[in-house]
Subunit: 338 residues, 2 copies
């Protein structure tokens, strides 16, 4: 066994062929004679050769890696989604580099810059910052193809995959009305000035109420301070203590819904007995939660697969005009709205 790094040259020497033949075998590029191919493969096995990704990437301009930038992999939703993207990319022979943006504009910009530095072949970027004065993304003609997830693609300049935020939340709200709820609160996130996921879901709630002839009561809009389980729990307390006679809650997502249920529980308010609650996302834990959580379930795998497909097709042809897709969803009824 040779000491030091084993290169393609070493393999070539071992196999008694030229470096290019080794390269051709590895990349299955041009036709190589069966004998030569066999000798090369044997030499690779024998030497334990591994291709050097840096050299390949430098020369070819391609890395075989696509980036996925999400706010937080520790968040159940994004962790699950990342796993799906990794699977889908793998199916096409690509690796995935996961970045965290922290849901702030500078993080999102950094992910774009990083994608260029690392020679990523594409970037799936989950946009989530709610900053009013967020600067644009630092895109150049060197940036790899971009697929945007989330609500913040105002200009429609990129491929875009989203979920039916308005329709989904409207369906969730309608479901509560069908269950007999009269005083339906909504729990949303911060800033509703910009077109964020929060805004869209809030709009879906309003739309559903209005369609049923219910006048939205602004006092029934609760804003969760910190977008965390504990923040949502505190919101549950505020709902229980509000004296507004709330008998239904539309939560902006499952994590918040569970926090709210917990907060209500802390105050002796039972779900679904006293208040019915519905979420959005259908996290893995939602089915096991007590009470199991009714929710809007977007087809997460569809979304992941579509994002990967869009990236790959744009790698093939960077000039196709931007496309937009919305993942299908269904309302899942469980105990929390029984």
């Amino acid at each position: 066994m040779k000491r030091g790094r084993i290169t393609m040259n070493d393999v070539a020497e071992l196999a008694g062929v030229s470096t290019m033949t080794v390269s051709n075998v590895i990349n299955d590029r041009v036709r190589v004679s069966p004998e030569a191919r066999e000798r090369v493969l044997a030499a690779i096995r024998e030497s334990g050769y591994q291709i050097n990704a840096a050299a390949r990437s430098l020369r070819s301009g391609r890395s075989g890696v696509i980036g996925l930038a999400v706010p937080q992999v520790g968040n159940a939703y994004f962790g699950m989604f990342a796993a799906l993207v990794i699977e889908e990319a793998q199916r096409h022979g690509y690796h995935v580099a996961v970045e965290q943006t922290g849901a702030v504009a500078v993080g999102e910009a950094a992910a774009v810059a990083q994608s260029r530095r690392l020679q990523l072949d594409g970037l799936i970027l989950s946009l989530a910052n709610a900053e009013a004065d967020a600067p644009g993304l630092p895109l150049t003609d060197q940036s790899p193809p971009l697929v945007v997830l989330g609500e913040q693609d105002p200009a429609g300049r990129f491929d875009h995959v989203t979920v039916a935020n308005e329709a989904g939340t409207a369906a969730a709200t309608a479901h509560l009305i069908d269950q007999g709820c009269k005083r339906i609160a909504v729990v949303t996130g911060g800033n509703l000035d910009r077109l964020t996921m929060f805004t869209r879901r809030y709009n879906g709630y309003r739309t559903a109420l209005e369609e049923r002839g219910i006048r939205p009561d602004p006092r029934l809009r609760f804003v969760v301070d910190a977008l965390s389980r504990e923040g949502a729990r505190a919101t549950g307390h505020r709902i229980a203590d509000s004296g507004l006679g709330v008998d239904g809650v539309v939560a902006l997502n499952d994590m918040v819904a569970m926090g709210v249920i917990r907060g209500l529980h802390d105050r002796g308010v039972s779900v679904p007995g006293d208040v019915r609650v519905i979420g959005f996302d259908d996290l893995p834990e939602s089915e096991v939660f007590i009470p199991s959580l009714s929710t809007v379930r977007p087809d997460h795998r569809w979304k992941a697969a579509k994002a990967v497909d869009l990236i790959l097709s744009r790698i093939d042809d960077p000039l196709i005009p931007p496309r937009e897709f919305t993942a299908p969803f269904e309302v899942v009824q469980r105990e929390s709205t029984a």
Copy 2:
């Protein structure tokens, strides 16, 4: 604005210096005169130059990226842990590439091979396969420094960070005994033949019972089939239906504990009224679960920081002998064992 990729050469030309001066400014290597430095920085800003990571990595042999290989980023525990590692690495100027092993030996081997291909500067590998005939890792003298997490470092050849699986589970079991439980079941994972996390935690349970003079009853050992929430829920059903008079459950982790509680709930068994349940990990969701989950909380951030420190110190000096660390833990009492 120049078309095509902007290289260090372009920046040098723009600044009226040599390429090396640009490189020296970027890497803050040798002393550069203030004027030259300023001109270079201006040229970088003006041109939007981004260093090419592939070229740097090819030449220097370093990528500035460390790998983190975990079974599944969609798993709440590993998602949370990945977020911590990314933060800690960032603090030291490193990026993190996340790989998934699927908790199988081939996946773990692939992560090691990949770390070499990608020129990663180090690899944090969470070993979790329970396969009896798992082959060794494909390590060569080209492999980057390795830090192993989990229980499966039989030879003690690598830096190793673990949690106090035995002591933690023993403390959890002792806590149930202190709460008055007499018939304490344990819910563990598959294969107990090898020294896995499952085995260690199971041993901690036995140790605690024996220390308190309780003879372990083999019928009280429940194996969760699929290591999933649904598998754990089914195990809850089996416990409720067993007729063994179980009044306490030590679950191998929080995800399983919550599934078991849900399964007991399905059968009308109340927690903690009829059965007390304790988990392991202290997931973010455990505090909001109803009932809130008592658990063993290892110091996850400590573990992440230690893993990163070990990698970095070994990058500095590959020759230091393997070191082993165990994260501190505490038992957190909540409603599920009240």
